[in-house]
Point group: C2
Chain length 211, copies 2
């Protein structure tokens, strides 16, 4: 349910960054940090961080700074990292394999429960401890296991023919590595996060040209 | 050399998207498109697209719309997709393998000429048609082959100990998949494009929570 509907996307996109830095500080045994030190570490101003966090209630204490464990816990909750969302991956190529390792390592709120491909050579093989299943069986799988998130690690054309079926099967959130512009077609009650690697690479190209 | 220093990053980040859509239209044999149709397709307004393109000189013609081949060529040039930048990948895990396929397939201005890892089990094996080399030999390789771009597909700690050496070896642009915040340490004459997958995943978590 939308608790933070007024918060701008650019603020939301900074939260994972705060969370990562806090987790890192925590793992180094630190308990608190002044807002100035935190700002310097993260490459922003103390006032920007304060403004950002105020969108979610504000968590600092004047004269004390931030309690690292408490703040990382609060931000983690907002980001849903303590959830265990049943997640499927569409596509069993190298990218999918990298993402499976990554997700199980990171524990950021998602749990892979199924991997699907259409390549007969891949079916039945294992990715981590999960067997690669036939994409033709996906509806049956979804009925039985109710995944809520799908990671799309297949080309654009495959996503074009598949996304509606996934929505019908109960998928609420997509992590989209394809170039298919899902956001233009799904309704507002579906979450889409694009990871357009080629846009990122071309942006690098631009920046190198500008040096 | 900076030709577009006044252009905001959000405009720049839309260029690859324009380029992708134009390439797609071109591959379907289309020659021109009205600014309204293009805007609808891409999910923006015609006026926003016009404003964006005006930052780079403007390429439309009143009453004609956009010539698809010409516009994709111009934007491609701005993004440097016709370059052939010698590029190395640090790390030879699943992510690196996915990126190698991806880059050779996409032809967006980068050419992989070397892959490096420190795992003795990987050394000498092939990734595509390139042999995986020992990270200890990277300086020698750079002297001989002068790569200008490095893709960082290794953990944060590895990047922390390696980035300065890469800069000293002549690397001008980094595509950074690690959580090491390169932008905070490198000088302004180095281009860094982060692909923070976990920030992207956590943003999805937030958006799902908000449904």
């Amino acid at each position: 349910m939308s608790k933070y509907s007024g918060v701008s996307l650019s603020v939301i996109r900074r939260l994972p960054r705060y969370y990562r830095f806090l987790k890192d500080l925590k793992s180094r045994g630190m308990e608190r940090i002044s807002s100035q030190e935190f700002a310097k570490l993260i490459g922003l101003t103390a006032s920007q961080i304060r403004q950002d966090l105020n969108c979610f209630g504000g968590f600092g204490q004047q004269g004390y700074g931030y309690n690292i464990e408490a703040l990382s816990g609060e931000i983690g909750k907002i980001l849903g990292v303590y959830e265990n969302r049943p997640t499927i991956i569409i596509g069993a190529g190298n990218l999918a394999m990298a993402l499976i390792n990554y997700i199980s390592l990171k524990q950021e709120g998602f749990k892979i429960i199924g991997i699907f491909d259409s390549d007969p050579e891949k079916l039945g093989k294992k990715a981590g401890d999960i067997e690669i299943m036939d994409i033709a069986d996906i509806e049956q799988f979804c009925k039985e296991h109710s995944p809520t998130t799908a990671i799309l690690a297949v080309p654009k054309t495959a996503v074009a023919s598949l996304w509606q079926k996934l929505v019908d099967c109960g998928i609420k959130g997509f992590w989209n590595f394809s170039n298919f512009d899902l956001k233009l077609v799904v309704s507002e009650n579906i979450a889409v996060e694009n990871a357009h690697l080629d846009d990122s690479l071309m942006t690098l190209g631009f920046c190198i040209n500008e040096l």
